[in-house]
Point group: D3
Chain length 336, copies 6
């Protein structure tokens, strides 16, 4: 049976100066759309899976542009709502060499952040679906987002979907009065797969970090005890030689074993935004396709590495290209 993946979260308009310009130098900004969860859906649709993204855009030309972006990528957009005041925005300045990139978020009171609880008919949305993916950004945006997230999770679990979460934590996102530790545990208990590192597990769930070599493994085991529903915990590691040159690898704990990939060397980086989402999409694809944790993890990290060569949040890489890299060919030889 073909997998049917549902993702839920905000997608923003991204505005970025061309080339390596700083914001203060820019006379035009390039327009791209992206969001942590929709990036996952776009990659999966691109790879031939059925993917539907659930969100809300304002009923104005900007919202319409956002909708068309997702339609173009072949997603099912029939549950997307066109309503509300404004489209979430973010401004991105790319880094290069030792100069860091910068992001200015401007998503305050966006159409998505202001959804009413009960806005979405999750029974209908999850009809026939096999996988639900969400991230820790959504409950950070507003009380309503957090509650709608919980509604979704309850229905997803009831309907036996596999549930994955990117436990994404940026403390300056949480502005409506709640802390992640108050909100996230209740949501994470529904999850089968979680992307998180030791710091996240400590800050959100109070799982102390052991200063030993296999600290990730120890944290994972404690995490699994706390959230028995979780069957897999994954993470990526990034060695940042410069903004233009990174090395990444991934780890997966499946309750018993810890799998680790080789490092992928990325030089130069074209656009690192969405690299984590590409990993998650690759992992979902891999787990759906191979039924082999190591293979899935390899597919994930190679998908992520290749994403760094694509301008924009979305991962416009083919399965064949990822598989080629999994086989070890990073020669970049011209295909005629």
């Amino acid at each position: 049976m073909r997998n049917k993946i549902i993702t839920f979260g905000e997608m923003m308009m991204r505005l970025s100066p061309p080339n390596f310009q700083r914001f203060e130098q820019a006379h035009s900004l390039e327009v791209i759309f992206g969001g942590c969860e929709s990036n996952v859906a776009v990659a999966l649709a691109n790879w031939g899976l059925y993917a539907a993204h659930i969100t809300r855009f304002p009923a104005n030309p900007l919202g319409n542009s956002a909708l068309q972006f997702l339609q173009r990528q072949g997603l099912d957009t029939c549950f997307i709502q066109l309503k509300g005041e404004r489209l979430g925005l973010y401004f991105l300045e790319n880094g290069v060499a030792m100069r860091s990139g910068r992001i200015v978020y401007d998503r305050y009171r966006s159409a998505f952040a202001e959804i009413e609880v009960g806005s979405f008919d999750w029974e209908q949305i999850f009809e026939g679906a096999t996988w639900f993916h969400w991230s820790g950004i959504t409950p950070a945006l507003s009380q309503n987002c957090a509650e709608e997230c919980k509604r979704a999770l309850a229905v997803a679990q009831k309907k036996n979907l596999f549930i994955s979460a990117d436990i994404y934590y940026r403390s300056n996102l949480w502005k409506y009065g709640k802390r992640p530790s108050e909100v996230m545990p209740e949501l994470v208990q529904y999850c089968d797969l979680v992307l998180a590192n030791e710091q996240n597990m400590e800050e959100i769930f109070g799982i102390g970090i052991e200063n030993v070599e296999n600290s990730f493994l120890i944290s994972c085991k404690k995490m699994k005890e706390k959230f028995p529903q979780i069957s897999k915990i994954v993470d990526t590691e990034r060695i940042s030689i410069s903004a233009s040159h990174n090395q990444i690898r991934a780890k997966l704990f499946n309750g018993t074993d810890l799998f680790i990939t080789d490092y992928q060397d990325i030089d130069p980086i074209v656009d690192r935004i969405g690299g984590g989402d590409a990993f998650m999409a690759g992992l979902i694809y891999g787990l759906s396709t191979y039924k082999d944790d190591q293979k899935a993890l390899d597919f994930g990290i190679c998908a992520s590495a290749l994403k760094h060569t694509i301008e924009g949040d979305a991962n416009l890489i083919s399965v064949a290209e990822v598989e080629n890299l999994v086989r070890g060919d990073h020669s970049g030889r011209l295909r005629r």
Copy 2:
């Protein structure tokens, strides 16, 4: 003595698709900065007058870019505050032929809209100044903006500045609970010169429109009775043959006489945003320079017409170019 003009109001980042693209076609947006009041200050500084603009931008790279835009134009920016959450934005799609342009405002809770009452030290700001210009947009943005506007006006009057106002009225701007008729009369009573048409005077001040040929004159006389401080009322008229071809003229009532300019024919229009502000700047320049209402009005309408040939809100036209048009030369002959 050299005139010293102070303007007060929000300046936004303007994002517009290049050429005649619609929003949905845009892959990049051109970045320009503009605002009703700062456009006036920019034109005046460009013409050699001392002009200072008073506003607030967020302390982030976008606010910094806005500040640098004003510095570049030679304005005094020393009273501009860098504080607050976000920069006001507006998205502009240019019209062409019979297709209308579109604007999507995104200025909600901008740094300027959220200024605290008492933020600005008007005694210091108005030191040595001769003219204060504001518009009806500012009191529409928030209660605080309205109150700060009143504070400014009281000090300006006390210090004997000449006060001009663009009684700008877009009903969908007023979102914080007050109607213009509750707020504007108190502010307009300080003014010496007002830009308004019959509809504005009716909607905001309850001055009924007479359906006769000289309705503007009649409304002006009633307006002057109601607000005895006002010495001049001005207005522009626009015949819109298409989005690419307009004809404009201006009127001025000085308490006794009504002056009217010839129509200026503009074909094609490059960018009509800021056309009204260019008229106001031209009028201020003209009144400051010529001490002749007809000449000042002619300078104003010609400055406005030339603005339509400039991309962006700001009027980058020289005094000599305006004067040349005032003399009737619209040949556009190449200057070598």
Copy 3:
């Protein structure tokens, strides 16, 4: 019941120099996709109707880009085939003032031209559909295209779809050995609505032109005698003052009466490609919506006029914008 429109024909990649450059000046070419029939479908989908386009693209990145273009516009693309050697191309140089635009076609042996007879399952495609639109370009491309067209028409008629055709005739398109007069009559007999002028009717169907004022009406009556299935014949007239300034109007003969619209004045023209297709889409929308020939015709010509202000073949204009022009507002005033 919501209308469901099916269109069938080739969509090409269009490559055109930016601004008013000639081909020999171009260092880059802008990429847009368009085709006579898909342009109709795109406009109708844009206006909220269900529209599916039937075609074939090569299974390469260029074909994929073409497919994504249609997905983006919200069309149903599930019957589009990805197969064959090459994507049809056309190179467009825009005209301006008295300089004509130029087109270089490069559609020889495209994936669509080389479809096999029987490639498409018309029974399935027309399931639930209400309208089928095709044009005279398709049977001109290859013997197979002509035959597949006939297969489609037979099924469409059987399933009681309303059938419209743009009897498009460019003699240099017919290169595979047949003349339009040998092929078109058999196809046109299935049609309910035909877009054609007197010259087309003479050249293709041998209907002599009377040199009298109402020659169109006379040709239409003869045409209807010859093809009794036809209930409406429509045409547009274009006065070409220059490449930048045209006036257009439309005519419709419904078997009894002749309806004519006012002229729409278009100055300047941004892009006239697809103007006829926009008329056809507008007419289909109008006939589906208003059940009033004059209103439908007005909607059609106004949709066409507005298309001339949009870069690209596709008509990205809203129903409200067309209706506004139908009401006579060509002022192009800014909408805030």
Copy 4:
């Protein structure tokens, strides 16, 4: 026998802001090459005549780019010298509507202005040539340029070339100490055809203007008396409705008769630089081809009109396009 045309003069790099930007708004400048005389040669080469341009460029990458520009257009460039300090430059800001364009020249001490007298081997250059064209700009640049011009003219006359001159006069060009009236008469005496208006003839040759309707004719007759070698005097007239809309016509006096063309209406103008040179090229082409003054003049004015639709100094229009306009077709209809 095929005509072989030699032109002599400076070609500059032209730097202009894109679209309708003012210099102060420009972040990039478009690079084009042009010069009064080379523009004539480029048009003639484009129309299939043999044309060689004689000039000097500096032996640096900018000079090399200039040379490649001429090679691309198919000119014979074998006599061009690569030597000297700097390439002449000019900065052009395009006008639009009633706003005038502006030019900033920066040709001071260019490689061409600093040629040594005797630099060019005119005996060899004129071998087999039939026509020599020069302009009044060259003797304005430097004493050496004026003297080399005279050397060329003497050889050209000796070898029986037909000699044409554009008596171009901009007083601010003459900076080396001589006035045109001291230099030009000696050069003009060699000419067979001169482009000049009454003002030029008065300012340079002291031929008083009669304030009567046929003042041009009277001036021409006096001019011919003074310079008996001259067989034809031509001129163009321009009605400048705005920078975007001009009307032009041309006049030719052949010693007996005065020929005048109809006005050509140009709206919108893409680029008017080189319009006069396109006229001269068209006239040379016409005189070479038709042996009919009226036909040649019509070809000239239509070539000039079409030039206004081309970005850049060079006239990239085909003979067929000019002839089509001569026949009265200014419809700008698309050619497929």
Copy 5:
């Protein structure tokens, strides 16, 4: 005596997305022209040698643009034919980091592929020429191309030209029914210098590869036995660390000795298309200039390395720049 080089083959329009965009992201495509053999001629003309390219372009604006590209570079283009249906195209997507570039060829039934046998007057073309260069692409395009190639070779040999061939082999190019092994041997027997690697020699000429270290040398010796006319066999080796970082070196067998260059490290690569052609051009230049195989080979590999820093197929590098790299200076220090 100055060398006079003749090259023969197809030149295509190349269309590529800007920066590192994928095809599906592109809204414009950059236009460049290139072909295996014309690239060699362009480089040689750029270095001051006399070079003429022989090909056919369609007589349309695209063919005209192709012609002007070659004229600009200073080639003799007088034997190029303007005739036929379409210009060969190829679409290039650049690779970066571990992502491979992609090429989509669209050269089917191009004007060049459809030349008639006997189209070119080789006696006249080779008059005074010293060197003829062709490649294995030409006989792959069509039967006629293969036969015309043979006609050229026979005349070239008769007239004692030095003949070089790039034994270029892409199996998917051969579509007209013949295999390279049926066609190439007859052509290669005329050659003095061949660019080929062991795989080419095996696949085309059946020369088995020995799995030993000096396999190239062994293959060369066998090749020379089979084709006694061949005096030199050359090859390049490429270590592809990624699409952005390559190392290249070259080998030359002169019948007795094997010469090998050092590796050139290229990081980052701007555009690797034409790298092999740049090597061939460098080798031809080197052999013509130095009469020293090692020096010629060094010049070739350094020319090739520098080509990778130039956008486009053509090698716009000076002799001095190549010589500087041959001397070992890869510092890239700014030249003021």
Copy 6:
């Protein structure tokens, strides 16, 4: 007390092809402004110091653009003169990999080079100032520039400003008849801090280089003997692996000790122009802020390294970004 820095020198318009294009490929040139001394002022103003630049621009649109560039960066521009014939220009082609960048200067007889001696009122300019920075370019431009430089230095010393000089030496700059050794010693005697390497000290001041390891130190000591006013001598070293990859470090001799920084690795380089000026600005900032030679030197070299990641001559980097690199973080991690 806040430092107030005065810089004096020419600022030019810089014109450069986009991306990695060569001059001959460029169809547009990017416009940026820069000069050795103004680059220092721009960086310091950007970092919050008071900086005024002293120069002359022509009173034309190009001069006006140059002025606005400096205003935008927040400099005090009130002493800049608008007068003279032309703006100095330079054309820059960026290098990449082993291909060197190229500069073509075109500053001959610029407005600045032609200043009259006594043009600037140094008493007024230096009022309240603490630091004066100049470079060896200014006395190279013209006799008048050299003399005005001396006038400035005398007043600066009298008013107790700290004086720094970049002893910049390019022999081809000195064209007016004097050699640096005739002019520079008299100017350098006023200086407190000098940027120079051993070669400069030998060529300009005749200080012989000892071929020993600590040759810089030995030269410095001799230099200090010769110019007792000098308290610090600084220099930077650059290892140029390629045009895209450099390593830089700095040295400072304070009369007693020699300080050396670590190497900063820069890969890839976006724009190396202004790297030395960024070092000087960083050093001035550091010395003003830290009163610690090593810290100041570290700030300088890190500011310089970061400059290489910014397009344009100006260093648009924040103090926090430099400090972050000083602390050793070259990871380039994204800042959200």
